[in-house]
């Protein structure tokens, strides 16, 4: 691909990610994306053939931010409870730290796409959500293996509750704008992990 096209594609992805972070997936159309980067709609069409293709590309683009910002800090910690806690710490509030003007696009998409028909965008968000839950589950199992969490722990239940705390923190920090949101989330996570200790 010629260099100029690659650069335009990056500009489109960055502008589109800012849009979905603020307005949700339905806020992204080829026309609106064209306006954001000062291109014609047919120019955008050279990169993405449909709204669905844009939305999936933007969800993939958001995943790329999660690697260095959320996963890598955790992977630098020793395996076990410290790594799990580091992941939780870097996961909560990652979207504004990534420079996005709004909140976590996946959390918003789960509410936006809960009652829509099955399709490739819904499947993509389901796959991303499942992948992250599997990662959390693996780190919990590692902390069981190191003896820091109980052997008979219901791993899926712990992960389920963590995801609820994450959503509560999203609403509290972004919608309610509660200055205590971070502190409340920490107390909740700490209590959940205490319950899980031997």
């Amino acid at each position: 691909m010629p260099k100029v096209l690659v650069k335009t594609s990056d500009r489109l992805l960055d502008a589109g990610l800012a849009l979905i972070s603020q307005d949700g997936l339905s806020g992204v159309t080829l026309g609106r994306l064209a306006d954001q980067v000062g291109m014609s709609k047919s120019g955008v069409f050279a990169h993405f053939r449909s709204k669905v293709e844009v939305q999936i590309a933007l969800l993939d683009h958001s995943s790329k931010l999660v690697g260095p910002l959320v996963l890598e800090p955790a992977m630098r910690e020793p395996v076990g409870l410290r790594r799990l806690c580091a992941l939780i710490e870097s996961w909560f509030g990652w979207a504004p730290r990534a420079g996005l003007p709004g909140g976590c696009p996946v959390a918003a998409a789960m509410f936006e796409l809960d009652d829509v028909e099955d399709g490739p965008v819904r499947d993509k968000v389901l796959e991303m959500e499942r992948g992250f839950r599997e990662l959390l589950g693996q780190l919990v199992r590692d902390a069981i293996a190191t003896g820091e969490l109980r052997a008979e722990l219901d791993v899926e239940q712990l992960v389920w509750e963590l995801c609820g705390i994450y959503l509560g923190h999203h609403v509290s920090s972004r919608f309610v704008r509660d200055p205590e949101a971070d502190a409340r989330a920490r107390v909740a996570v700490q209590a959940l992990l205490e319950r899980a200790k031997p």
Copy 2:
């Protein structure tokens, strides 16, 4: 107001509530509402003067469903922990039990309106969310007064965590379609209440 107008207004509110339950507040426009009830756009305009006015009327309309379905069953229980548990039980999953085709409109609106500018619709959802948290807080304080929960309990923290479990249950039941969603929510609520007991 002539009877026929009242009836049309109810039809508009019911159709609009079904729309926001499935597609969110942004899914409701005067035009789409007109299509749903087989009226002209100017006919709808006789009832609501703007999209904002419709959205606020629909949020009010959803509150009316919450009374008999969520609040009344709780108020029939004796004051204290039993009333609090009854409220939680009737709150989780109330929207499909109310016959709505989608999920809780307020939960979805909190993600839809988190990053939008301040305005009357955002204020309305904030007020509804705050009102429900205050009710939960009151029932928790009642359960402290009856000695069933700890006197030194951080009431706001408990309510904060309950709201997170509610959001986790929304995603788990509606987006992930996990058949275990209700059971997982019950375990989480039970553990939260155990932590709060003397």
